[in-house]
């Protein structure tokens, strides 16, 4: 190691310039990460392949401006220099830098980082009087030269820079190192990657625009960074995330403050008007200054039509709240947005400037200005854009287009829009990801001997919805010699096939969960795994991860527990109805028993029934145990599909929840709970658990109000009290009331989240809904990535017990992954809800609301605002028309409504409910019919969707290709349908009931 000194000129905290001497160490050995390396560098991790035509070293300027292009997977052999990375960190902020870091970590991209400033021969000290840019270019060039020499001239190196002086200066210095501009580079080497070329011209144009702009200011300038930080520290400014009101996006935004040192401000700060918002965009982390108290205003409570223009008149507002203005932005949080290009007429005024104002799909995002030459071709299309900048001289932010999705209003476009708006990317699985370790079909002897063999000794069976193809959990129960019981839960051993760090694993981690949309699903794992190799099908040998408890005969206390890898053969693949029928002692046909002789069959049947009975007995006990702790039960409804012989859906019938559902769920919760214990014990600070924080009391106010209107009181002080009072709040005349109250309670709940145990204090590990002190997800590794992680942790815990030292992911890494999974889960829920709404709108779009009887339905009013009411029809909370407030006291808020579609070119369509008449309470149809409308709707939307897709397929040949690409199973698969309907029933509101409901466990 050689020590040199680096002289830096920095600004001190008081703004003075200081000359600082820093030590800087150089070394001869810096890994080059190339397969061609001649000097046996210590290349760990990603390595550039040797069979490329060249390696490319982008200049600092290129990395700063064109990182998006370098993100294309087609571009291979990219060497990022440390100089460039540091420039990104300093000039573009943390978000952009993290993007670059993730790019470098991602094994699917062919790019590496070279620490050129720590390499003895590639480091060049900055000369006196040399400008920063020149020095950086020189550094990058010398790194390129080093690479050429290091690889002994076997590989040509291309340095890309947009600095024409540098091209002139360096291009002829060395024979193997070419210096060319970005445009030239793309044209010469990647002419076939059209998207990259288009993106290049789009960005280049946006850059040019930015330079040539001078006009007067529209907004006040943001304060410099140091001032902001000082202001936050002193409590003069507040830091928070900007949140825009969806219904009045231009006017109202709030900033949720994180830690406020200012004592008299609690909660949110209102930011009113676009001047005060000062170019902040939804999601940015902003710094606000409070306005004097006289200028504070209240949040508007009146309903507006979604499309309504902003009214200039003062809205009647509720009590005033702290109001402020944005003085600076700490971190932009821009993502890809979907926008719609305006029609030709609307464009005409701005034609000459080639700049077009486009309207984002998300209401909360301001209009985006885009420079393009393709405006004509793009009108009425939905396009993905990225924001570049928002100068104080411009009313709207500047952006550039990335790719075109398709014409607005088409099903495929809309689905893609929903996915992109939620940052979900689900490209089809690549060859390499599917290939994995293609051995199985049969079991390996060595593998089998290493596992505990339960094939002969245990009666294993699965209970799932009928027709399910990815069976990830099975159960077993048997009596042991001493009168004890042995309960077993066996989960598909996905981690055996999906090795950590493999391509399949990376893809699964990126997706984090299987996405269920209204008409399709995007699997987390390739179908080979999810439907075959991992799936614990009946009658075949499969690898599993098992949890076996030995329970005392009478008290059912756990005597001992065993975790480990096993081989099982599921004897029966039951479905819920069949299992319940067996339990009830009804005549039932178990398909697996058909080929046997009658005596044999009877014998087997009694055996199975007995097992089911024992299981139910145990589950009841477990449930009672949890109920004592205060577990909540919230409303969920299940629907069953009736199928004809070709697996087409003929009807959907509501299903009474069967006890066997609860039994299975209870066993799964129990397994999750025990695994959570186990991994936390082994890794106190690096275990992935799931917690459910108690809800904030103020969210219960609506519930309490509603309950009071019915003469009930709800105690929300603890989960136990809540569960108890919900149970008592039953109106014998109107069972609907209890259901509604439970639904409102669900809405008040906070979301359950994954976390790493090191990141939270132990008292926050509690799961409020299930009333368990520790909980995790272990039982569905086929469709949740968290479960895969937990499986790995459990395996490592067991190996550690066996005395093998095992390194696990650090707390920080795990917490990062947990947050990622949480985000993706939230996105998955949103996508599901949005796609359901999309189909609802498609369903009602073609119907005339005045004549079609299906457009009239019953609704319940759940809230009253200043100029309107909020109503609930079917399964959908929607705003009712304004001006009807005299109609109803809440207690008999039953109304008839007419449903119509409020169509909107730029945004998603929405349903509009119009009040037709009041329904007196007495005339309400009795209980049995209550769930009917909802079920019908689901069914009809479904059919409509199918019709639509069939029409598309038959009409347009070109669409079918896309469909093949996106629908992973062409015929909507039954499992996804059931899954969807169940989730739909559970998630009446967006507050996910998922965490509450035992059935998802």
């Amino acid at each position: 190691m050689i020590k040199t000194e680096k002289i830096l000129h920095l600004k001190s905290s008081r703004g003075r310039k200081v000359r600082v001497v820093r030590e800087h160490y150089l070394r001869e050995r810096v890994p080059c990460y190339s397969a061609l390396c001649q000097g046996d560098c210590d290349n760990e991790g990603k390595v550039l392949p040797g069979d490329l035509t060249h390696y490319v070293v982008p200049d600092v300027g290129i990395v700063l401006d064109f990182l998006e292009i370098l993100e294309f997977r087609e571009l291979q052999g990219i060497i990022f220099t440390q100089t460039a990375c540091q420039a990104v960190q300093h000039n573009k902020g943390r978000r952009q830098y993290n993007r670059l870091r993730n790019l470098l970590k991602d094994a699917r991209h062919d790019c590496v980082l070279f620490a050129n400033e720590f390499q003895e021969y590639s480091y060049c000290p900055r000369e006196k009087g040399e400008s920063q840019e020149k020095w950086q270019t020189r550094c990058v060039y010398s790194a390129a030269v080093w690479y050429y020499n290091h690889l002994a001239g076997m590989k040509n190196i291309v340095m890309v820079t947009d600095d024409s002086d540098a091209v002139a200066q360096y291009s002829s210095l060395n024979s193997g190192v070419y210096v060319i501009s970005m445009q030239e580079y793309l044209h010469n080497f990647w002419l076939d990657v059209r998207a990259a070329l288009e993106l290049y011209s789009s960005i280049a144009q946006a850059l040019q625009e930015r330079e040539g702009e001078v006009s007067e200011r529209e907004y006040s300038e943001h304060l410099p960074h140091e001032l902001l930080e000082a202001g936050i520290k002193s409590g003069r400014y507040l830091l928070g995330i900007l949140n825009v009101n969806k219904h009045r996006a231009q006017q109202e935004a709030t900033v949720t403050t994180q830690i406020s040192s200012n004592k008299n401000i609690s909660g949110d700060v209102l930011v009113f008007g676009s001047k005060h918002r000062n170019r902040a965009v939804y999601g940015d982390s902003v710094v606000v200054e409070l306005l004097p108290r006289g200028e504070w205003r209240g949040r508007a409570t009146a309903l507006t039509e979604t499309q309504g223009e902003e009214r200039s008149a003062e809205d009647p507002s509720s009590q005033t709240m702290p109001t402020g203005r944005v003085v600076g932005i700490l971190q932009r949080n821009w993502r890809d947005y979907v926008v719609t290009f305006p029609t030709r007429e609307a464009q005409s005024q701005s034609r000459n400037s080639q700049k077009i104002l486009t309207v984002p799909w998300d209401h909360r995002i301001p209009k985006i200005r885009i420079s393009t030459t393709q405006a004509n071709a793009l009108q009425d299309h939905r396009v993905v854009v990225r924001l570049d900048s928002w100068e104080s001289t411009s009313l709207y932010p500047n952006g550039h287009s990335v790719r075109v999705l398709g014409r607005a209003g088409e099903l495929e476009t809309e689905i893609q829009t929903i996915l992109i708006e939620n940052c979900i990317s689900v490209p089809p699985f690549s060859e390499a990801q599917v290939r994995l370790r293609l051995l199985p079909i049969y079991l390996f002897f060595s593998e089998v001997t290493a596992r505990r063999d339960l094939r002969e000794s245990h009666l294993v069976f699965s209970i799932d919805p009928a027709g399910c193809e990815d069976v990830d959990d099975t159960l077993s129960v048997r009596s042991l010699s001493g009168g004890r019981l042995e309960l077993g839960v066996h989960i598909a051993d996905v981690t055996h096939f999906v090795r950590e760090g493999s391509l399949t694993d990376l893809e699964a981690r990126a997706r984090a969960t299987t996405y269920y949309l209204a008409d399709r699903r995007y699997d987390m794992l390739p179908a080979v795994l999810s439907a075959n190799l991992c799936s614990l099908l009946g009658g075949v040998d499969r690898y599993a991860m098992s949890v076996l408890w030995e329970l005392e005969a009478d008290s059912l206390d756990v005597a001992s527990v065993w975790f480990g890898r096993t081989v099982i053969r599921s004897s029966y693949q039951l479905h819920y109805e069949l299992a319940q029928a067996l339990l009830n002692g009804e005549e039932a046909q178990v398909p697996e028993l058909n080929p046997l002789t009658p005596e044999e069959r009877d014998h087997r049947l009694t055996q199975l029934t007995q097992a089911l009975e024992t299981l139910t007995h145990v589950a009841r006990h477990l449930r009672a145990q949890r109920d004592r702790g205060g577990a909540l039960e919230l409303e969920g409804m299940e629907v069953r599909a009736q199928l004809d012989s070709e697996k087409n859906i003929t009807a959907l019938v509501p299903r009474q929840p069967l006890e066997v559902h609860e039994t299975v769920a209870e066993c799964m919760i129990y397994a999750n709970h025990w695994v959570a214990y186990k991994i936390q014990e082994a890794f106190p600070h690096q275990a992935l658990l799931r917690h459910h924080p108690p809800p904030r009391q103020e969210y219960f106010s609506q519930l309490q109000e509603s309950a009071r209107a019915h003469g009930f009181s709800i105690d929300t002080s603890s989960n136990k009290a809540l569960a108890l009072s919900l149970e008592q709040a039953v109106d014998p005349q109107d069972p609907e009331v209890n259901r509604l109250l439970r639904m409102m309670a669900t809405q008040a709940m906070s979301q359950a989240m994954y976390f790493s145990t090191g990141a939270l204090p132990a008292d926050q590990h509690y799961h409020y809904g299930l009333a368990l002190d520790r909980y995790t997800h272990f039982t569905s590794p086929i469709r949740r990535y968290a479960d895969i992680l937990v499986h790995r942790l459990l395996m490592k815990a067991l190996e550690q017990e066996a005395g093998l030292g095992i390194a696990t992911a650090s707390n920080r890494e795990l917490e990062e992954t947990a947050q990622h999974i949480n985000n993706k889960n939230r996105a998955a829920q949103r996508v599901q809800k949005l796609s359901t709404e999309l189909f609802q709108c498609l369903f009602f779009r073609d119907r005339d609301p005045q004549t079609d009887p299906s457009c009239v339905s019953d609704a319940v009013i759940y809230g009253i605002r200043d100029n309107g009411v909020l109503g609930l029809a079917h399964c959908d909370w929607t705003i009712l028309q304004k001006g009807v407030q005299k109609c109803v006291p809440f207690s008999d808020g039953r109304v008839k409504v007419r449903i119509s579609v409020l169509s909107n070119r730029c945004h998603a369509d929405s349903l509009l409910l119009q009040l037709i008449r009041n329904l007196p309470h007495e005339s309400q149809s009795p209980a049995p019919g209550q769930s009917q409308p909802k079920v019908q709707l689901v069914q009809e939307v479904r059919r409509q969707a199918e019709e639509a897709s069939q029409q598309k397929a038959s009409l347009k040949g070109r669409l079918s290709r896309e469909e093949r690409q996106f629908c992973q199973s062409k015929q909507p698969n039954l499992y996804s349908l059931l899954e969807e309907i169940r989730e739909l029933a559970l998630m009446d509101a967006e507050a996910g009931a998922e965490k509450m409901c035992a059935t998802t466990a």
């Binding site: 190691m1 020590k3 001190s12 003075r16 200081v18 600082v20 001497v21 820093r22 030590e23 800087h24 160490y25 150089l26 070394r27 890994p31 960190q89 300093h90 902020g93 943390r94 870091r101 470098l104 970590k105 980082l113 620490a115 400033e117 720590f118 960074h225 930080e229 700490l330 106190p684 600070h685 090191g758 650090s810 707390n811 920080r812």
Partner: protein, 234 residues
């Protein structure tokens, strides 16, 4: 820019060292003639002069720590006896009471003066190392070299021998003075929050770093001896 990346994904620190690498240490002994023993050490580009006088009735160790006005990036008048330097003096005193064989010098006092000429992090540990050399130069018997090193904790990795930017980056750090041969800890100081589980790893890393320092010091002493003996031969 908030939050410097103290340890990059490739495992480099800001100045190009890896997590467990020390800074380059240069030292000289016998710099001043006025004192009984003195040393200059450059681990941080900081100098320490130290001399010992034998006075009075019992082996009391007296330490005084000070920083030159020009020792940091911004000039600052540093009066003697401010809180920080008093604390530092006390720490030094404790460290050396543990290492020097005080019972051999009844009725005497050993004074150690340390002055930082330029500071770039790890002041305490460099003071200890410099004072060790000075005490050796003065010929005062010690149980062993006293070597000190600071260790910081970033991303679950302990970083040895922090420089100033790292120290001020808001990470928890620990200073440890070690008698390397016996592996005894003379002083352990930490005033940041750190999870108990990580403490062991930190101490482990600090001990290795201290042993590294002791090797360097040993070399310096031997070289000095050689020079001195060759001089006296002439």
């Amino acid at each position: 820019m908030a939050g410097l990346e103290l340890l990059s994904d490739q495992g480099y620190r800001l100045d190009g060292r890896k997590a467990n690498e020390l800074r380059k240490v240069q030292a000289r002994m016998g710099v001043f003639a006025q004192a009984d023993g003195s040393a200059y050490i450059e681990q941080v580009s900081s100098i320490k002069g130290s001399r010992s006088r034998t006075l009075h009735d019992r082996a009391v160790i007296n330490c005084q720590y000070s920083m030159a006005t020009f020792s940091t990036a911004e000039r600052k008048r540093r009066p003697h006896g401010d809180k920080k330097s008093t604390e530092m003096s006390l720490h030094l005193k404790q460290t050396f009471e543990a290492a020097i064989l005080t019972q051999l010098y009844p009725r005497s006092q050993i004074d150690i003066y340390v002055k930082i000429l330029q500071s770039d992090g790890g002041n305490y540990s460099v003071c200890v190392n410099a004072a060790t050399l000075a005490v050796i130069d003065a010929g005062i018997p010690m149980r062993d070299y006293v070597c000190a090193c600071t260790v910081g904790f970033v991303d679950e990795t302990p970083l040895a021998d922090l420089c100033y930017t790292e120290e001020s980056g808001g990470i928890s750090s620990l200073a440890l003075a070690l008698l390397p041969r016996g592996g005894q800890i003379a002083l352990l100081q930490m005033d940041a929050r750190l999870h108990q589980d990580h403490l062991e790893a930190m101490i482990e890393a600090a001990m290795t770093a201290c042993k590294g320092v002791s090797k360097v010091l040993d070399e310096v002493v031997r070289q000095h001896l050689q020079e001195a003996s060759s001089l006296s031969k002439e």
